[in-house]
């Protein structure tokens, strides 16, 4: 991701050396050259191995277990659809999905607004590349701290006797501490926004940095207002970044466990916390079914977003 510097031209450093090395006609001096098909396998191998061992195998395992039978003491191989049936007919499931989707939508809207504006500022308003790098670091450095710590850090700030309430009271904005700040949906959203805005800034800044600033002048020259330049030129040209950022934020919120548990004070549940309750009760088959449904649900969401914007086509540019 080239978010640090605006490239001088569109000079895509993409698919570089590796492929050209394969295409180069074999030199006669080096008779020990590997055949091209083997080179390709070596190139694909590491990623394929990681994906197989850490993704495909466990997912297949979940899929198999999700059809198993279980009781209080163990799980038994079977092919039952009961786990799915129970999951999908329980109102609690739907409530949790609706609640997670609501969080995801609100957080998506806020991080998109913030992320786009921050990225736009960094790319188009800061001309000095050193200053830009410093600002990017300021955005990124908090990310070096664990998300759990950054979540917990909000508690003393937003609490009933927390720093924020004390500031408000000292300023005379309110006479008694505000209770909705912590252990509420508000607290959950604030924490999500704090955690995930950078996930928007990065991809959007990357897209924006590929826009020739002359395009903005050309739009102005043609009589476009700032708003029209945004809607007609900048946003259409940054939709890859917007989509990538949206996918990151959506999947993070849908897969969250810790933030909702810590910050909602037990008032909201997340899909994963539902799942973890089942795991703690050693109900592995329903937990697997739950996990499969979540994976499929998120996959469909991502698929829809990819359908709207062909990210792959844009990325290879």
């Amino acid at each position: 991701m080239n978010v640090w510097h605006k490239p001088a031209s569109d000079g895509a450093p993409a698919a570089g050396g590796a492929t050209s090395m394969v295409r180069r006609p074999a030199s006669k001096r080096r008779s020990t050259r590997l055949p091209p098909w083997l080179v390709s396998w070596f190139q694909v191998g590491p990623l394929a191995l990681i994906l197989t061992v850490l993704f495909a195998l466990p997912t297949t395992l979940f899929l198999v277990v999700s059809f198993y039978d279980y009781d209080r003491v163990g799980i038994y191989p079977a092919f039952l659809l009961d786990n799915y049936r129970e999951l999908l007919t329980t109102p609690a499931t739907w409530r949790v999905y609706v609640s997670s989707l609501r969080f995801a939508l609100i957080v998506w809207a806020i991080t998109l607004f913030l992320g786009f504006n921050v990225a736009y500022f960094l790319i188009f308003h800061i001309r000095n590349s050193i200053t830009r790098t410093i600002f990017f670091l300021l955005c990124a450095i908090p990310f070096w701290t664990s998300g759990i710590i950054r979540t917990i850090a909000w508690i003393p700030f937003l609490g009933r006797n927390g720093a924020f309430n004390q500031i408000l009271m000292a300023l005379g904005v309110t006479s008694h501490p505000l209770d909705f700040l912590l252990f509420s949906d508000f607290a959950v959203i604030v924490t999500y926004v704090h955690l995930f805005t950078l996930l928007m800034i990065g991809p959007i800044a990357n897209s924006l940095s590929k826009i020739d600033p002359a395009l903005l002048e050309a739009a102005r020259d043609a009589g476009a207002s700032r708003w029209h330049t945004m809607t007609n030129v900048v946003i259409p040209l940054s939709k890859t970044g917007i989509t990538l950022g949206s996918i990151l934020v959506f999947t993070q919120v849908m897969g969250d466990y810790f933030v909702v548990r810590q910050m909602s004070g037990g008032q909201s549940a997340s899909i994963v916390s539902m799942l973890s309750t089942e795991i703690q009760a050693m109900q592995y088959p329903p937990a697997s079914a739950n996990a499969m449904v979540l994976v499929i649900f998120v996959a469909i969401l991502v698929g829809v977003m990819m359908k709207v914007v062909d990210v792959r086509k844009e990325l290879v540019k």
């Binding site: 020739d212 002359a214 395009l215 002048e217 050309a218 739009a219 102005r220 020259d221 043609a222 009589g223 476009a224 207002s225 029209h228 007609n232 030129v233 259409p236 040209l237």
Partner: protein, 329 residues
């Protein structure tokens, strides 16, 4: 107001911090003029163009278009349109939408703006490419689209920022002719920034030579070529020999110089350092005894009657009437 001029610059100045990019220049461009701003890089020509376009604020001075002070107006209210050096076509829009863009911004209905955009695509012979994306076109074709996009608003002044620099030499000559033809047909003022004196001489009605943020000479190309005011101009437009004379520096056109025998007339002695065959002419470069580099452009027939070789001693001669005194700047 006086409307004989399309564009007037009144001591226009541009400062970037402590750097003076354009220093109080004044210029009047008569109606329907093909004006070339010419100069080496960093001379302020592009900044001047961008100030006329309204993409750069003037630090001081005024810009008038059709007698109206436009210094503080946005580009669209100035009646100017700019063609960018990189063409700046919107990569996500078809050629038709690119050309129709400013109509869309003015709220013209889709059907009408598309039909008008098609007219302008036809004007630049690109009607068959309406549905293509810019990336699917060659550089020359992209430029035509950019031209159509700039012209669709019927600007009073068209501003071109180094429009030919990205084209190969063959295409450059073709496009050059076409720009001139368009300017004649539309009879509006074109202001064309370039660093190539060939381009400026071929195109311009008014040639404005700039250096270090100043206008050094502004006149029709023929006058600039025949009577360059300073050694800088004479050297910059090329094909001139700048020589020392008792009363300051003089310029002599290289094509008026011959290799020959020193008579009573003006001459300078030196050594041939290079011979370049250029087709109709042969360029003989010499180093004078005083250390100046000079050259003679000799018709090929004349040269081959008495050829010279690098290393030969030779005398450069010309006639008194071709001597042109230069102002010392």
């Amino acid at each position: 107001m006086d409307n004989r001029f399309d564009v007037e610059l009144v001591s226009v100045t541009k400062r970037y911090g402590a750097t003076l990019a354009v220093d109080a220049i004044s210029l009047r461009i008569p109606r329907g003029t093909y004006c070339c701003l010419l100069g080496p890089s960093g001379c302020g020509k592009t900044t001047t163009l961008r100030m006329i376009a309204g993409h750069e604020a003037v630090t001081d001075g005024d810009i008038l278009i059709h007698g109206e002070n436009v210094s503080d107006l946005p580009p669209i209210k100035r009646g100017t349109a700019m063609m960018f050096q990189s063409y700046a076509l919107f990569p996500h829009m078809s050629c038709l939408d690119n050309v129709a863009f400013s109509l869309k911004m003015r709220g013209v209905a889709k059907k009408e703006r598309h039909s008008r955009a098609r007219d302008f695509l036809a004007l630049v012979h690109m009607a068959d490419y309406a549905d293509r994306l810019p990336a699917q076109l060659s550089g020359g074709q992209q430029q035509r689209i950019a031209l159509a996009r700039a012209l669709i608003n019927r600007p009073r002044v068209l501003l071109l920022d180094e429009p030919l620099s990205a084209l190969d030499p063959f295409l450059r000559v073709k496009v050059r002719e076409e720009l001139k033809r368009l300017q004649r047909e539309l009879s509006i003022t074109f202001i064309h920034v370039t660093h190539s004196q060939d381009e400026a001489m071929a195109l311009a009605d008014l040639m404005v030579v700039m250096q270090d943020g100043h206008i050094r000479q502004s006149a029709p190309p023929r006058e600039v070529f025949e009577r360059p005011v300073s050694p800088f101009i004479a050297r910059f437009i090329g094909s001139h020999n700048v020589l020392r004379a008792p009363h300051g520096q003089i310029a002599v056109r290289a094509d008026r110089c011959r290799l020959g025998v020193a008579n009573d007339g003006p001459h300078v002695n030196g050594q041939v350092i290079a011979v370049e065959y250029q087709g109709a002419m042969v360029r003989v470069a010499m180093k004078t005894d005083a250390g100046d580099e000079v050259s003679a452009l000799v018709p090929d027939q004349m040269f081959y009657r008495q050829p010279a070789e690098p290393g030969d001693l030779a005398t450069l001669v010309w006639s008194e009437q071709d001597t042109h005194a230069l102002m010392q700047v």
